[in-house]
């Protein structure tokens, strides 16, 4: 497929990217925009490490072509919050120490963000379903579930 210039809105900023329209969004985010939040995990949409929000919905950027992202708001982990001003979901993951190597952390946080946007008071089943296809090989699952509960406001201290 020949290259063309495609306009993408990422973290509130406009970028004109020259690439084939079927290029997976992840490669543009990582290689052209030099973002480190979304990770390359499997490249097959199976592990969740590449998750970003597209118009508020969790999407696997390794299998979404950039042609499908035109005129949509793309949000990456970097756009969600910073170390000094973390999003409540990022803060919940930090407080619950919900990572070991942290490679899956992007997907866990972005999927939780999307879950809470559409379901502000999720059930345990909702939480498990939202993260079901996000793989963590270190085994931080218990802390991750605690972080999701904290982000949802279910933790005792999180309410004050």
């Amino acid at each position: 497929m020949t290259q063309s210039t495609i306009r993408l809105t990422v973290n509130g900023r406009i970028h004109d990217v020259t690439a084939a329209p079927d290029t997976a969004l992840l490669y543009v985010l990582r290689n052209d925009l030099e973002l480190n939040g979304p990770k390359f995990g499997c490249g097959l949409g199976e592990c969740g490490a590449c998750t970003v929000l597209i118009d508020g919905l969790a999407a696997r950027s390794c299998v979404i072509p950039i042609s499908g992202c035109i005129k949509r708001d793309i949000l990456t982990l970097e756009g969600l919050g910073s170390r000094d001003h973390p999003d409540p979901v990022q803060d919940a993951f930090i407080r619950e120490q919900a990572a070991q190597c942290g490679y899956c952390l992007n997907g866990m946080i972005m999927a939780t963000k999307a879950l809470l946007k559409r379901t502000p008071h999720p059930s345990e089943t909702d939480m498990r379903e939202a993260l079901r296809y996000h793989l963590c090989r270190c085994g931080a699952h218990v802390e991750i579930m605690r972080a999701v509960k904290r982000a949802a406001g279910y933790t005792e201290e999180a309410r004050d």
Binding site: T2, Q3, A19, A20, D22, T23, A24, Y27, R30, N31, E34, L35, N36, G37, K39, F40, G43, T76, L77, E78, L80, G81, S82, R83, P86, Q90, F93, I94, Q97, A99, Q100, C101, G102, Y103, L105, N106, I109, C138
Partner: protein
């Protein structure tokens, strides 16, 4: 007395060991305390997610009697850290933390002895709080003041008195991982995130026996590569062939992915894996 200008006091205390390799006189540093009170600890391993940056910082802070926040841990930078081999076998805390803990203890002994001399008290009469050595009558002197403009180098030894475990206040406490806030906001550069100017992207095309590492067919099964099968992929830089290793290199990653998927490679027929549902037969078939 006005606070001394740190720039005019470039002194430091280091605990070092002669380097196992390299030119004569070269040494490896385990701990460095600067006259401004900054503490840096060096370890040859890297934090792959096990939290060693945090744990090693706790160990050093404990043995040196400084606050945890004061200790900066430098990991894996081969121009700065001791050569302690690969980060493997759960050995960071069990093995490589030992010289670091000794180094911290040595530095503490040296500094408290010097403080005793300056304050004209015995070591037993002194207590240390976050690098500040206090005697009776509120007289005190900091690690930085004890080092001042001197360059002090102590040779690492394992013959050093360590703190009693009962006296621990930092080790054994649950300290939040120092690396997680950055990881949760996409800051750290993982190996996968390293970018260099003019970087190209590659993908490997696996042989049909991928996963098998023994047999006469390993490394000898490639018949041919049809380079024309990827001729239309833009920015294709190279098709690499080394024995049975086949790889593609492209200017853009998505084009390397595409080329690897599309490249036509012919392989000789390779044996199928033995049927392990009959273990005995499979084992007997492999014995000479």
């Amino acid at each position: 007395m006005a606070a001394p200008d740190p720039d005019r006091r470039p002194g430091s205390l280091s605990v070092i060991r002669a380097a196992g390799s390299g030119a004569e006189g070269t040494f490896e540093t385990f701990i460095k305390i600067k006259a401004d009170g900054a503490v840096t600890a060096f370890n040859g391993h890297v934090d792959l997610g096990t939290g060693i940056r945090t744990a090693l910082g706790q160990i050093v802070a404990e043995e040196l009697d400084v606050s945890f926040a004061r200790v900066v841990v430098v990991l894996g930078d081969t121009s700065q850290v001791p050569n302690q081999g690969a980060t493997i076998a759960s050995e960071t805390i069990q093995i490589t933390a030992v010289p670091l803990r000794n180094a911290a203890a040595q530095a503490r002994h040296f500094l408290i002895a010097r403080a005793a001399e300056r304050l004209e008290l015995s070591v037993d009469e002194l207590v240390i709080e976050d690098g500040l050595v206090r005697g009776r009558d509120n007289r005190s002197i900091s690690y930085g003041e004890l080092i001042a403009g001197e360059t002090i180098r102590l040779e690492l030894t394992d013959d050093v008195q360590l703190k009693s475990v009962d006296a621990y206040t930092i080790v054994g406490q649950s300290v939040p991982r120092t690396d997680l806030p950055a990881k949760a906001t996409g800051e750290p550069v993982y190996v996968h995130d390293v970018r260099v100017p003019g970087m190209l992207h590659g993908r490997v095309v696996r042989p049909p026996y991928a996963g098998v590492d023994a047999g006469p067919f390993v490394g000898t099964s490639l018949i041919a590569i049809d380079e024309a099968s990827v001729g239309d992929i833009p920015g294709l830089v190279a098709i690499v062939r080394i024995g049975d290793f086949v790889g593609v290199v492209a200017e853009r990653e998505e084009n390397a992915v595409k080329a690897a998927a599309r490249l036509k490679v012919s392989w000789k027929a390779t044996p199928t894996l033995p049927n392990l549902s009959d273990v005995e037969t499979a084992l007997r078939a492999t014995s000479p």
